[in-house]
């Protein structure tokens, strides 16, 4: 690696993959509970499995973003990281706090966890994706501030590139919007209004800046295309992200008690949200087609291209399918929502983290540019198994969602929730099977760090070393 301090990225990446594996195990538990309703009850009720699954997702992605930053910022800034020691201290604090929180979810009833962590002093628990105790949230803020300080000082004292500036802008946005998780008013409507300032402005806002910056970095490295070209594209993409996504927040304000003008504003602007994802796909493929070199890390290139496609499909297309308010009136809070959510999160964020790990890990392990041929092949098996499985999961939930909406929402004589759930069980079986193949893909991916570890580095055939 170019700078010794980039090495701190490695523990972050390892933790990310470990937590990802935990996330999928709990996903499979829930998938089975949809079919065998009392599976693991009362030891692990559905809501506990769910909070473990979603919180692990968010935390492994955060570890991934941090690892990505520790790897790419020294290289972009052309200097060592400001404090590698701080990075390692924060790593352990974040990991221990995260593990303790998950243990807390599993070990005691949630109401007990709220009591013993002093939630009543400043109640922030009990909301979706923000289930963690208030003290954990405070810990996250402290870790984020330390992380931003470290990365910020590195950039400040080094070369400032468009990529590193957009990355840190996205990360600062992530930290600022997380502060809204501390605002929990008695009024449910206000609660929901500002809850979306964390969730939407994260995943349909500042997280896309982080995604764009990491993607641009990988594309510069694997294609050799001129930085000026790539950085201009990056500005165009993120401009469309915020121009569409800021007022696109309104697509969460249709049915929560907010004024009806949001049905117009949210529909029009959120309909544009697929545009930056489409641009990212064209951007990624164009850069690879115009590449000046054949990079030996074919797996990383595959992850980068795949990420742009799956993000467009999951976030862009599936998002568009249910974003217009006349459609959303019937589909709101159905299995269609879950279908979109899974493919969007996997395509945009899981895949970009896996892409940067794919690019960086060989270098962190002492390779010049890429893993051995055998490692890359099994890694690419992992890519295809996980990606195709996710498409199948999404199709299964889309089917379940369409039937659910037809029978429960749209029909002249609607059936009750539980009666309808019974009727879509076949889709849940299909989803669970795809979930199992997803896990197999993840195991292949993990194996790629071990298989072919001692083989020679892959080279591009026909080129001299």
């Amino acid at each position: 690696m170019q700078y010794q301090s980039q090495a701190v990225a490695k523990p972050y990446f390892i933790a990310a993959i470990g937590l990802f594996l935990g996330q999928i195990i709990f996903g499979l538990i829930m998938g089975l509970q949809y079919i065998v309703g009392d599976f693991l009850f009362p030891a692990i009720p559905f809501n506990v499995a769910r909070m473990v699954h979603t919180n692990l997702l968010i935390v492994w992605l955060l570890f991934g973003f941090m690892g990505a930053s520790y790897f790419l910022v020294p290289e972009e800034s052309e200097r060592e990281l400001y404090s590698p020691k701080l990075a390692l201290v924060l790593f352990w604090i974040f990991l221990v706090a995260g593990v303790l929180t998950i243990v807390g979810y599993l070990a005691v009833p949630y109401a007990t966890l709220a009591e013993i962590t002093g939630n009543d002093l400043l109640p922030t628990m009990g909301r979706e994706f923000l289930e963690m105790p208030t003290i954990t949230k405070v810990g996250i803020v402290i870790v984020c501030l330390g992380f931003l300080f470290n990365i910020g000082m590195t950039i400040l004292m080094g070369r400032k590139t468009v990529i590193s500036m957009i990355l840190i802008l996205g990360l600062v946005g992530l930290a600022v919007f997380f502060l809204f998780s501390f605002y929990n008013p008695h009024n449910l409507v206000l609660d929901k209004l500002f809850w979306w300032w964390v969730v939407h402005l994260w995943v349909e806002g500042v997280w896309e800046l982080i995604l764009g910056a990491i993607l641009a970095f990988i594309l510069i490295k694997v294609t050799g295309v001129d930085r000026e070209v790539i950085e201009k594209w990056l500005y165009v993409v993120i401009a469309m992200v915020l121009i569409s996504g800021l007022l696109g927040t309104g697509h969460h304000y249709y049915w929560i008690g907010a004024p009806e003008y949001w049905q117009w504003i949210g529909s029009v602007f959120s309909a544009l949200e697929p545009v930056p994802f489409f641009m990212m796909t064209v951007f990624a493929f164009t850069m690879v087609n115009r590449r000046r070199r054949q990079h030996p890390n074919r797996a990383a290139t595959l992850w980068a291209l795949g990420c742009s496609v799956m993000a467009f499909l999951g976030a862009g297309v599936w998002g568009f399918l249910h974003t217009l308010s006349p459609v959303n009136y019937y589909t709101h809070g159905s299995q269609l929502t879950a279908a979109h959510g899974h493919m969007a999160f996997y395509g945009a964020y899981a895949m970009i983290v896996l892409a940067i790990i794919s690019y960086a890990m060989p270098i962190l392990n002492g390779r010049k540019e890429a893993n051995s041929h055998r490692s890359q092949v099994i890694e690419m098996w992992g890519f295809w198994l996980m990606t195709v499985s996710m498409v199948l999961i999404t199709l299964a939930l889309t089917g379940a969602g369409i039937v659910q909406v037809w029978l429960q929402r749209y029909s002249e004589s609607p059936q009750s929730f539980m009666v309808v759930q019974d009727q879509v069980t076949l889709f849940y079986w299909f989803r669970e099977a795809a979930g199992v193949s997803f896990l197999i893909g993840l195991l292949c991916y993990i194996a790629s760090f071990f298989v072919g570890k001692n083989d020679a580095e892959a080279t591009v055939p026909g080129l001299a070393d």
């Binding site: 809501n47 909070m51 949630y110």
Partner: protein, 141 residues
């Protein structure tokens, strides 16, 4: 692409566009908060409703249910359950859990006091009365 569409132009569109639309978002959300009182009947947020929201959060009801369409999709929508089932049913149901019906999705026993049960009912009643543009489409949620 045209030669005068430089990186600087793209950068300016990003910063200008983002700043503009962020201001519009802030303005509209501020306007929304001014219009909310006529829609959310906040004068009806009694101490019982406040306690009900706390019980809702402390027991993570949203981990299985949706409320106004947001939450988990394992169990029924509760934003309109007050209208669908009524206060007596809601209390009795919570007290009777779990059903232990083999293979059926299970709800835990939360050991709520009489006061907490009444508070939950009050919270769900208030939620049901929010003017949310006529969502959900029907009584089933």
């Amino acid at each position: 692409m045209a030669d005068n569409f430089t990186k600087s132009v793209a950068r300016n569109i990003f910063f200008g566009g983002s700043f503009f639309f962020f201001l519009v978002l802030v303005g509209l959300v501020f306007d929304t908060t001014r219009k909310l009182p006529e829609r959310d009947h906040r004068e009806n947020i009694t101490e019982a409703v406040v306690l009900g929201k706390k019980v809702w959060e402390d027991n993570n009801c949203i981990g299985c249910h949706t409320i106004m369409g947001e939450g988990a999709y394992f169990a029924p929508e509760l934003g309109n359950v007050y209208e669908r089932r009524g206060p007596a049913f809601i209390k009795a149901w919570i007290q009777a859990m779990p059903t232990n019906a083999p293979g059926r999705r299970q709800m835990p026993q939360f050991n709520l006091s009489e006061e907490e049960l009444d508070a939950m009912v009050a919270f769900l009643k208030w939620t049901n009365e929010i003017d949310d543009a006529n969502w959900p489409p029907n009584i089933e949620g």
